[in-house]
Symmetry: C2
Subunit: 213 residues, 2 copies
DNA sequence: TCATCTCCTGACCGATCGGTCAAGATAGGA
DNA sequence: TCCTATCTTGACCGATCGGTCAGGAGATGA
């Protein structure tokens, strides 16, 4: 009776609401990854999720808002994973661990990686703030750790940020450019052994490239 | 009077035709890179090219056909560049040369790289044949060269294809993920010095990781 | 000069998409 | 049981987009 504020109904989290939102989010991640933001249609997302199109708009309002939720979900997952980087003092263990972690994310959540890649390629209109604040600070912190390793003689001097780009690029390529990887390897799908081989190659080359002596 | 075949008029290359097509292709590469295939509109491409929308369709027929031309242009450029890889017997010179070459392409033709990346991320519907034939054969040939290096003791044994993925990913990330790179480095635009620093880091880490001893 | 291509372009069309809406179905606490 | 908030859905709408077309403007060679 008081203020008829135009919010999405049901801010409270009913069981039905939570479950439907989760289904739609999962379908949206898949469709956004496969067709891009513009190419994805709310109708197709609804179809994949197994609900009428109006239902998608009932729960998320606009396509833009749904996309934002998908992005936030991905960023949160990745950021949680990134927290494990500096838990170790030993560069060999830390980098090896981080590379394998990122590689596992590429394998288990390729759709999320593709949505993120798409967003960045197109200028990161929704994530530019995140890149310039949170991610940059995170990278600064990691760079400090890497530089300390160099000072302590644990690794050779290296530009820490370019090293980070290197790790990100080499691990995410197995998700984002999966089709190319499969074509070159001549396989239908990457097996656990393929991923292990990738992890072995990446960690070996990078660590040998970094470690002193 | 004979066969009224429905082809695009003027297969002959008039000066006007060539110039207009070049303008439109350039604009299309930019718009496709920025907005993706679906997100790009023929109207915007026309506006960027400085011609009426009908003119775009006059020269290229469909959006799909225009996109195909843009892709072919990019693939041709990249493939021409790739030919320089095995011109050298020395792994250090060959890899260093190839990395710097790819990095220069990322710097000078980032839009093309983005269009290509977009195509691959979305499953490469137009390039799957190219990936499975031309690119795969090229990669096989390069893999043989790399394996010979290992047999000759010039480098340590390494999976040659994963090494290629590594080089591709680390160099192209400076074009495709340019926004992220700039945000982390805290700069408005990458300078020649930034690219030199990237080249130095990449070649150093990879070569130290590869070379024996 | 005339004929005949090629080029140019505003106006238009059908299809599709994001989003709305009204009305019915359902669930659950009092 | 009844009431109310939430959920569900087909039908619909305005906007936008790819593509078409008719007809005028230029160019070119005979």
């Amino acid at each position: 009776m008081s203020a008829p504020v135009k919010t999405l109904p049901g801010t409270r989290k009913s069981a039905i609401r939570q479950e439907n939102q989760a289904h739609i989010l999962l379908a949206a991640e898949k469709v956004f990854a496969e067709y891009g933001y513009k190419g994805a249609t709310t109708g197709l997302i609804a179809e994949v999720a197994g609900v009428p199109k109006a239902n998608v708009h009932y729960y998320f309002g606009t396509k833009e808002n749904l996309y934002r939720h998908v992005l936030e979900d991905i960023v949160a997952t990745w950021f949680a994973a990134a927290a494990e980087f500096d838990s170790l003092d030993d560069p060999e263990a830390a980098i090896s661990h981080y590379v394998r972690l990122k590689l596992r994310l590429s394998k288990e959540r390729p759709m999320g990686s593709k949505v993120f890649a798409n967003e960045i390629i197109h200028g990161a209109p929704h994530l530019i703030g995140y890149l310039q604040t949170t991610l940059r600070q995170w990278a600064d912190a990691k760079a400090a750790v890497i530089e300390r390793w160099a000072e302590q003689g644990k690794i050779r001097p290296v530009d820490p940020r370019h090293l980070l780009f290197m790790i990100w690029a080499t691990t995410q390529t197995y998700a984002d450019f999966g089709v190319q990887v499969r074509a070159v390897l001549g396989v239908e799908e990457l097996t656990d052994a393929d991923y292990e081989r990738a992890a072995e190659t990446l960690t070996t080359v990078i660590l040998r490239g970094l470690l002193a002596g």
